[in-house]
């Protein structure tokens, strides 16, 4: 599943074109449209972080929204209660570190408790409910069911000298684009490193990897912490685009991100963005009155993808390409 070879010329050209398109998008699109695309990209980063642990490490996290939501809430809470010039940067760091530390603690208890496979999924599902309740119970800090609001406007730039509001559509859009590229590059580097190969070995056969001398719980803990920090970052990026509400930590959010990754193609990294884009775009197309029906379709589609099409959209394209390449090779031989 892991692509170890370098990007082909075609792929490089395609990637450059996509990047150019993303950079130029606000020039010909309305603020609403670039806001929407920024949101999809942020969800793409969120899905990417899930793909790191699910597609590459075989850890299914049914509570991934916990880390997304914790990132968003940490950002909002720091912005609300810390009144310093550079508070935004502090909030961003907090928004990444708090979910990462949470993942570290949780991962320590679970991975070293030898909870793996389906049980990890199940425990994280139970935790989602608990996390949602924690947000609602501590209304004084989190705003409870109403969500968190009236925090200071996050600003980027140099505090005191040159500042821009993060709420500016251009700023939030380019922050999302830049972060997407950085996160994708980081994830790609990570899965192709020796560390990534060890993770792949654990995914394929945990017992055998342990016999080979790999410290399985430790490696899982590392990738889990990194991925959850990345999920936290996506939560941070979401704050200027959306509302901080308890729904961010809910079961539906965790389910959605699983669907995005499954549809886009797990274990492909780029599939996370494709899935987030495709599903969210279709969802935006259908009006809110179809919400129930839409979720029904999503659920059915999810079942079908799992049953018949485990590689998702990107997986399908890749196998087509691979097959064509293989056929071309045979032709050359003959």
């Amino acid at each position: 599943m892991t692509q170890t070879q370098r990007l082909s010329k075609v792929q490089r050209a395609a990637a450059s074109l996509v990047l150019l398109f993303l950079l130029a998008f606000p020039l010909f699109a309305s603020d609403y449209q670039s806001g929407l695309l920024a949101k999809f990209l942020v969800f793409g980063i969120f899905a990417l972080s899930l793909d790191l642990i699910w597609g590459y490490s075989g850890i299914v996290n049914f509570g991934h929204a916990i880390f997304f939501g914790t990132g968003a809430y940490s950002m909002g809470i720091i912005l609300k209660f810390v009144a310093l010039p550079g508070a935004t940067y502090l909030a961003v760091i907090g928004g990444v570190l708090v979910p990462a530390l949470l993942a570290l603690g949780l991962g320590y208890l679970l991975f070293y408790g030898r909870v793996s496979g389906v049980f990890f999924g199940v425990v994280t599902l139970a935790l989602t409910g608990a996390a949602h309740s924690i947000i609602i119970v501590n209304g004084g800090i989190t705003g409870g069911l109403n969500g968190l609001y009236s925090y200071q406007t996050p600003t980027l730039g140099i505090p005191g000298l040159w500042e821009v509001s993060w709420y500016d559509p251009m700023v939030s859009y380019y922050a999302a684009v830049l972060s997407s590229v950085v996160c994708l590059a980081l994830a790609r580097w990570l899965v192709r490193s020796n560390f990534g190969r060890a993770i792949g070995a654990i995914r394929e056969n945990e017992v055998r990897a342990a016999f080979m001398g790999y410290n399985v719980p430790f490696l899982k803990l590392v990738i889990f912490t990194i991925a959850c920090g990345m999920a936290g970052l996506s939560g941070v990026l979401y704050v200027p685009i959306g509302f901080i509400s308890p729904d961010l930590i809910g079961v539906m959010m965790s389910a959605s991100v699983l669907v995005w990754v499954a549809v886009g193609g797990r274990g492909t990294l780029i599939g996370a963005f494709v899935g987030a884009l495709v599903v969210n775009y279709l969802q935006t197309m259908l009006s809110d009155s179809f919400a129930t029906l839409w979720l029904l379709i999503v659920g059915l589609f999810f079942i079908l993808v799992v049953l018949f099409w485990p590689g998702g959209v990107v997986g399908l394209v890749q196998t087509r390409w691979a097959r064509r390449g293989f056929a071309a090779l045979r032709l050359e031989k003959e």
């Binding site: 208890l109 679970l110 408790g113 199940v122 425990v123 119970v137 499954a262 049953l307």
Partner: protein, 284 residues
């Protein structure tokens, strides 16, 4: 003293229902290695059977009688279409049944709307027991659950069918080569598990709010029960049910119910770190 008795009865009634909900999960996992994330939705379907009967003006007892049949049939359909093709891919079964749970929730929402429904009360009034007055219906649930549990144990340990289930759990390949029809055993075990949780939903429905979301809460609690108790065995479900139910009842006495439930989840996770094999671990 009185409050102690009430606490004990509360704990017992939470524990019995958790055991009833978790039993099916435990057997299915032990047998197929499959975790059914639509289990909570089966519970919800059972509750809706009673709510539907009430809204049609029929006696809720008919709803309770229909629930195991309806949910059992849904279970059979689910087993045949999405679970059987995925036996060798446990993680994917987890995902597929998760998709199924979304589908069932949304179908119920399309039919009944997302609002709450009420099941008519079945037995009202209270009974004097151990010197205190306790709602009769809760006592009825405890008694019925114990009867169902006894039935399950008889089925599991004393019948030919139970023997076949235990054979398949112990060693699927050997069981098959000894002439056990594993496919059929799987199907019936799944159907019974679904019927059981449907029944649990039905008898619980007069005490709780019936809405399309209700399954999720019971699902996560049932999983905690199975994991804490020890995986894949009937005893595990019982030990876990007593532990989680007891902890919930005790904590609810001192704290708000929400806080109590959060603490129970955290308690379960710490317990997993200390005893990964669960309370009954070692005798799987």
């Amino acid at each position: 003293m009185d409050s102690l008795v009430i606490q004990l009865l509360n704990g017992l009634s939470i524990a019995t229902i958790l055991i009833l909900v978790s039993l099916g999960l435990a057997v299915i996992f032990g047998m197929l290695g499959v975790i059914n994330l639509a289990h909570g939705e089966f519970f919800m379907l059972g509750a809706y059977c009673v709510a539907t009967a009430s809204s049609l003006g029929v006696s809720p007892w008919w709803g309770i009688a229909a629930a195991p049949l309806v949910v059992g049939l849904v279970g059979i359909a689910a087993q045949q279409t999405i679970i059987r093709p995925l036996y060798r891919r446990p993680l994917d079964t987890l995902l597929a049944t998760w998709g199924l749970s979304i589908v069932i929730r949304q179908i119920m929402r399309l039919i009944y709307g997302s609002g709450q429904m009420m099941s008519g009360s079945i037995i009202t009034g209270s009974t004097d027991i151990f010197g205190i007055s306790y709602p009769t219906y809760r006592l009825f649930i405890i008694v019925v659950t114990c009867a169902v549990l006894a039935g399950t144990f008889l089925l599991y340990f004393r019948s030919d069918f139970g023997l076949r289930i235990r054979m398949v759990i112990a060693d699927r390949t050997t069981a098959a080569s000894l002439g056990v029809n594993t496919a059929q055993t799987d199907l019936w075990a799944f159907a019974i598990a679904a019927a059981m949780v449907g029944f649990a939903g039905a008898i619980m429905s007069p005490l709780i709010v019936v809405n399309p979301e209700m399954g999720l809460e019971y699902l996560s609690r049932a999983f905690l029960v199975v994991i804490v108790g020890g995986i894949g065995h009937l005893y595990g479900a019982i030990a876990g049910g007593v532990a989680i139910g007891g902890a919930e009842a005790t904590l609810s006495f001192f704290l708000r119910p929400v806080v109590a439930q959060i603490l129970v989840v955290l308690f379960a996770i710490v317990l997993i770190r200390i005893r990964p094999q669960g309370i009954t671990g070692g005798r799987r």
